[in-house]
């Protein structure tokens, strides 16, 4: 579904990612792991085209997305739940969700999709007139995911959804993700917490200092000492 | 870095002095333009202390220049206070206003845009107060008759006096800028300009440093205003106290390269005489054409050579060095 080849990217002259290649099949849950500053968020922002690429190519569902603008990537069917949620703080829960449904195709379905999101996260329905900036961390994460779902994506990219959340909320979030996956949504999950990640994904890539160090099935990786080594440095 | 500063400062001084020597031998029309150019170089250097080194676009320096131009003349004509006392008073008042302005805008970190907007409003307030105050000449300005000096057999005409003052002023600003850049204050200002957060984290006091820069700049600008008044004889408030004056200076400096030492000198030295001559030639047919050209040049420079002429020259020279290596 997503084929990324030879991606080199960074900020100005600084190269953060070197020759990254990965692929995600339809219906998979794939993890992107690695220690702090390995380049996970940069990679995800490259897929969303928020960061200019130095080199590389990317195909999504057969279509070349290497030169699209960020809003066009969303229109294609890839939706990102950014690190730190990045909500619209002075808008209500409902307005944030409405903004999620901004792309043309999704707009017609907005009413139905909002109902679906409220079904997935009943807490959001309760708080639909509350300003997003005043929600708790867990509620904000639910809203961020809900907002990303509003554009009807076929690939959902989540950047560290469990960051700063209580275990209870983490469980709620991952239960929702599992439900979404069962219904056919393809998911790319960036996670710093190794155990949480390996429990919830099928395959994963481990990034180390801007390069893909390891890739394989989650089951195999759970017991691979090389993975832990890549994670913790040396 | 220090060597580069030393070279450019020395170069600037030499250029200014050489210009002075050449010009003093020229017919009065051209020496007049040269004198004005030197004054504007000095004013640009003075502004650059806040603008280039401090990294804050001040649009209110017209207050200091206007004070320096009008207060001594007013005190002489209306209170019979000797000029040099008036000049000193203007400098003191300017430094106080500068300190106040700094306090107003830098005690909280409100950003560059805020600073530019507030200083612009203050500059305009200064112009309105000058025009509305009879003591400072009101809307009609002040006229001071300067006398030529005689030392025995040597006569120094008023025009030559202006040239000498202008030279001294320009040299002073170059020396002060050079000294500032090599001082601890200069180091602090550059750190703040590069990264305010990091600089404050290592203990650099934003308010104190910016205020020091502003006060120095204000005093120099005030002196420049006094020299300008001496050159002109008649002081027109719409010229000296109007934000337009300082904005023109910023224009020249930006084209030359804000934040460098040579930038203000180069920008003013190239553009100002050109503008004056053009203005003389086109006096009645197309008034303001020279300003259109300046404005358009600035727009082009910002888009094509963001670091100004000096920055562009520097990159060229680096490229040459790389090629030769």
């Amino acid at each position: 579904m997503l084929e990324l080849t030879g991606l080199c990217a960074g900020y100005g002259d600084l190269e953060v990612l070197r020759d990254i290649s990965l692929s995600i099949g339809q219906g998979e849950i794939v993890g992107l792991l690695g220690a702090n500053n390995a380049g996970k968020t940069t990679l995800v922002n490259c897929i969303s085209r928020l960061i200019p690429w130095h080199r590389g190519a990317c195909k999504f569902e057969g279509r070349d997305i290497s030169r699209l603008a960020p809003h066009e990537v969303t229109e294609c069917g890839i939706s990102q739940v950014p690190e730190g949620r990045q909500l619209f703080p002075a808008m209500t829960v409902w307005e944030n969700l409405m903004m999620g449904g901004f792309p043309g195709k999704a707009r017609a379905q907005r009413a139905k999709t909002i109902e679906y999101v409220f079904g997935l996260f009943p807490r959001l329905l309760e708080r639909r007139t509350q300003l997003a900036g005043t929600l708790s961390g867990g509620e904000q994460q639910m809203l961020a995911i809900g907002r990303a779902l509003m554009s009807g994506p076929r690939l959902l990219v989540l950047d560290e959804p469990s960051l700063g959340l209580s275990p209870r909320f983490v469980q709620t979030i991952f239960e929702a993700l599992a439900a979404l996956h069962r219904e056919g949504l393809t998911i790319l999950l960036v996670e710093q917490n190794l155990n949480v990640a390996l429990k919830n994904v099928q395959r994963c890539y481990v990034l180390e200092r801007g390069e893909v160090a390891i890739s394989g099935r989650a089951e195999d990786m759970r017991h691979d000492p090389a993975v832990r080594k890549a994670y913790l440095g040396n | 870095m220090n060597r580069e500063i030393a070279y450019t400062a020395a170069g600037g001084l030499v250029a200014v002095l050489a210009a002075g020597v050449i010009v003093s031998a020229m017919p009065e029309y051209y020496s007049g333009i040269a004198t004005k150019t030197l004054i504007f170089i000095g004013l640009a250097m003075a502004w650059n202390i806040v603008g280039g080194i401090g990294g804050q676009l001040s649009l209110g320096h017209s207050v200091f220049i206007g004070l320096g131009a009008l207060l001594p003349a007013a005190m002489l004509l209306k209170l019979s206070v000797p000029l040099w006392v008036g000049v000193a008073c203007a400098a003191v008042v300017s430094s106080l206003i500068g300190a106040g302005l700094s306090w107003l805008t830098f005690r909280f970190r409100l950003g560059h845009l805020y600073f530019a907007l507030v200083t612009l409003a203050v500059g305009e307030l200064g112009r309105i107060i000058v025009i509305g105050t009879e003591f400072l000449g009101g809307a009609s300005g002040l006229l001071v008759q300067y006398k030529s000096w005689s030392f025995g057999e040597v006569h120094v005409s008023v025009a030559t006096q202006s040239l000498i003052f202008a030279l001294a002023f320009a040299a002073l600003t170059i020396v002060v800028t050079y000294g500032l850049l090599r001082s601890k204050l200069g180091y602090r200002l550059r750190a703040l300009k590069g990264n305010e957060d990091a600089a404050q984290a290592i203990g650099i006091d934003l308010l104190r440093s910016k205020t020091a820069a502003m006060v120095i700049s204000a005093i120099l600008s005030s002196l420049g205003g006094s020299v300008f008044a001496q050159y002109n004889g008649f002081v027109d408030p719409e010229v000296v106290a109007s934000p337009i004056l300082i904005i023109s200076i910023i224009l020249f400096t930006a084209i030359g390269g804000i934040g460098t030492i040579l930038g203000p000198v180069l920008g003013v030295a190239i553009l100002f005489p050109f503008g004056e001559i053009l203005r003389g030639v086109l006096a009645n047919s197309l008034p303001g054409l020279h300003l259109v050209i300046f404005g358009a040049t600035l727009v082009a420079v910002i888009r094509l050579m963001p670091n100004g002429l000096v920055g562009w020259l520097r990159t060229r020279m680096q490229l040459l060095r790389v090629q030769q290596a």
């Binding site: 969303s48 928020l50 603008a69 960020p70 809003h71 969303t74 229109e75 990102q80 950014p82 990045q86 909500l87 619209f88 002075a90 808008m91 307005e95 903004m99 901004f102 999704a106 707009r107 990303a148 509003m150 554009s151 | 990294g55 676009l57 107003l104 805008t105 909280f108 560059h112 845009l113 805020y114 907007l117 507030v118 612009l120 409003a121 305009e124 307030l125 309105i128 107060i129 025009i131 509305g132 809307a139 934000p243 904005i247 224009l251 930006a254 804000i258 197309l286 008034p287 303001g288 054409l289 300003l291 259109v292 300046f294 404005g295 358009a296 600035l298 727009v299 910002i302 888009r303 963001p306």
Partner: protein, 287 residues
């Protein structure tokens, strides 16, 4: 007392137009972080557009605005797209560029129209309205007031209740997230900028009635508008409008008590005074 009341009413009326000019600055700033120091000059350009349309076609400024507004919207669109947007991340550069622009516009106008004051006659010239037995106001000022607040109401409705308006607010609150939900940030900014220019053209035609215009007044209008802009916290449109009223009242009341040019110093003094106590503006947020 009567004179004071008259001045206050007048100030509220004229302040609404100042607020409108400042509002268009605020709109542009809130969506792109850009402040155009040639803003007032663009407005003077509109005023002279109205003057020319009167000279050639005999159009009343209240009518010619229908031609001037789209023209200035297009001109501003081109200006922003090719000159300003490419450097929009460097605030200091934008300020310098727009200062250069100010020189260009101001002096082009001087070259074309000369250095004299011009008048643009309008249908409301000399018309006054009498309120009760305590105030006499120019009809043109009253029209300005009503137009400003109606326009503002429409704008607030647009921003609050339509998809486009919501996308503008989204870009203001978090441009990155807006891009991620599918908003074309660059294009949204350009549309808002063009809209603001059209609003500026309306301000111009409102002011032109009953005032003499001059090519070099642009900077003055920029400065008069920047005060409500800053006092309103630069992005809060309603507080910008209210601050415009404050500045207007300060100006008219100042002129009652201080003779000559000094009366016009009062709004600036009020501005500085407010900033001493609330540097972030009346309704702004301290970061």
């Amino acid at each position: 007392m009567d004179i004071l009341l008259q001045a206050i009413i007048q100030g509220v009326l004229i302040g609404s137009t100042y607020g409108l000019i400042a509002l268009s600055m605020g709109l542009i700033y809130s969506v792109s972080g850009i402040t155009n120091f040639a803003h007032g000059d663009l407005m003077v350009l509109c005023m002279f557009g109205a003057y020319t349309l009167f000279a050639i076609l005999g159009l009343d400024p209240y009518i010619s605005v229908l031609l001037v507004a789209p023209a200035i919207a297009i001109a501003t669109f081109v200006l922003y797209k090719y000159l300003i947007q490419p450097i929009s991340s460097q605030q200091l550069m934008v300020i310098q560029l727009t200062l250069g622009l100010m020189f260009v516009i101001q002096n082009l106008l001087l070259m074309v129209y000369g250095g004299n004051f011009q008048r643009v006659p309008s249908v409301l010239d000399g018309d006054v309205m009498i309120i009760g037995d305590f105030a006499v106001i120019q009809s043109s000022l009253f029209v300005s007031f009503v137009t400003t607040w109606v326009l503002a109401a429409v704008l607030f409705w647009l921003l609050g209740r339509t998809d486009f308006g919501r996308s503008v607010r989204a870009v203001h609150q978090n441009a990155r997230a807006a891009a991620l939900v599918g908003v074309n940030v660059g294009r949204t900014q350009l549309i808002v900028v063009s809209l603001s220019a059209a609003i500026l053209a309306v301000s111009a035609s409102l002011l032109v009635s009953g005032r003499a215009i001059h090519p070099s007044e642009g900077l003055h209008y920029t400065i008069v508008a920047l005060m409500p802009f800053v006092l309103g916290g630069m992005s809060n449109l309603l507080s910008i409008l209210i601050s415009g009223t404050i500045i207007g009242v300060a100006e008219t009341v100042g002129n009652v008590y201080l003779n000559g040019p000094l009366g016009f110093a009062v709004p600036y003094l009020v501005f500085i005074l407010i900033l001493i106590f609330r540097p972030q503006g009346l309704f702004g947020a301290r970061s």
